[in-house]
Amino acid sequence: MKRYSALALLKAGLTGQRGWEQAWRDPEPKKSYDIIIIGGGGHGLATAYYLAKVHGLRNIAVLEKGWIGGGNTGRNTTIVRSNYRQKPLHDLFDFALDLWEGMSDALNFNVMFSPRGALFLGHSDGDMTVLAQRGDALRCDGIDADLLTRAQVQKLVPLLDMAPDARFPIHGGLIQRRGGTARHDAVAWGYARAADALGVDVIQKCEVTGFAMTGGRVSGVATTRGPIAAGRVGICVAGNSGPVAAFAGLQLPIEAQTLQAFVTEPVKPMIDTVIMSQSLHCYISQSDKGGIVLGGDPDQFPSYAQRGLPPRIEKAAAEAIALVPALSRLRMVRCWAGTTDMSFDGSPILSALPVDGLYLNGGWCYGGFKATPASGWCYAHVLATGDTHPLAAPFAFDRFARGATIDEAGVGVLPQLR
């Protein structure tokens, strides 16, 4: 792998951009691999990288039915944070945050991780107490969280509507300063390039159509590019977890649901922090290009259509304007809809499945991007060793039957309530 650096850019500029190599090869699938990862999104590629980097395994393939990073990593609201209330979640996401901080250097690919702060607004004393509780839980576990007063929030986001009689008055907030944003595409490309350089085969346009079973154990996959044998197979397909698991006759505690987000035309800097709310589902940030990135409620019914309900966009716009009135004249230039993998407690599933040799990394609902490096790390661990990484132990597949669910929102089974 030719190293990227400012010097390399300088040289390339002086020599007419000659000398750049392909970021990743385009290999033909081999007949067999030690481990196959199904799904070439951020999580799957991160898994492949850590399998190679941390566990020294090279005989690995990532099979992607389309082009890598074509799902969430191809278009998301880029938020990275670890400030969840439930300990198993904040421990996992904070491990991710540690890895985010060194990711660009480790991968030699600038993923533009920007710790510009992830701020939750509180709109009442009640909200502030809930935020304080969350902050206390985080601080007691060594994770940064600070309560901000109204004045401090105003200083951070001057364009917020601070009127005391606003519909969503600002009482203060909880900020994680280490949180922020990252460039979604770069994460997929960075992991792919680094994994490829370590010998992993990243195979695009290769759709898994079934599993090969030998003696009750998964022994490989059937694909659109022929059968491939494998010692272990890890499903890592986000919104497609259900259909892929069905190839092994499995039903999951997961339902696919659409989530939309949208971005405005680029404008000069106006919002420096990621803004979320304790009471509202709307979230707002500004990308480096200048577009304001917004999201809101999920569509709340099962769908793989990647086409959303207009009222969700409209409500997100309304809430965003209520918080930051200056947004009203900015124009949405693009909206998109993705398929989220809604688990029945809102937390990921990262474990072996009840079919030997088959593993699942899914159920990330709408919070998977921020966990990318930790998800990859822990999945690599179980695929490589057969043992569950301690941070992934709470996210076992059988926790639903046992009653050990991890429900951050406290709403139970039905995903549309989340």
């Binding site: 259900g242 069905a246 999951l252 309900l309 009222p311 549309q416």
Partner: protein, 86 residues
């Protein structure tokens, strides 16, 4: 924004309805506990047709069964819920 043909109210916009769950995940009180738990936490979740329980929450408030394709959103049929469906 689907258009759903409520058998009682006629064709109405999706925003009047709320999705509940799939028919095969309805858990009755008569079911043994382990069967109930299994049904609660397992879904086919197909990228195709499924039988879904919806409610016309902002209309007649009746429970309906939609035979609906989850990728194309084609609605093949809408019927009032009947316990025989379960």
């Amino acid at each position: 924004m689907l258009q759903i043909g409520c058998p009682f109210c006629g064709a109405r916009a999706q925003s009047e309805f709320s999705y509940e769950r799939t028919l095969d995940s309805i858990v009755t009180l008569e079911m043994p506990a382990n069967e109930a738990v299994r049904r609660l936490y397992a879904r086919a979740n197909p990228r195709g047709f499924d039988e879904e329980l919806w409610r016309h929450a902002f209309g007649c408030r009746q429970w309906l069964v939609l035979h609906r394709h989850r990728q194309t959103h084609e609605i093949a049929s809408v019927a009032a819920f009947d316990p025989a469906h379960r």
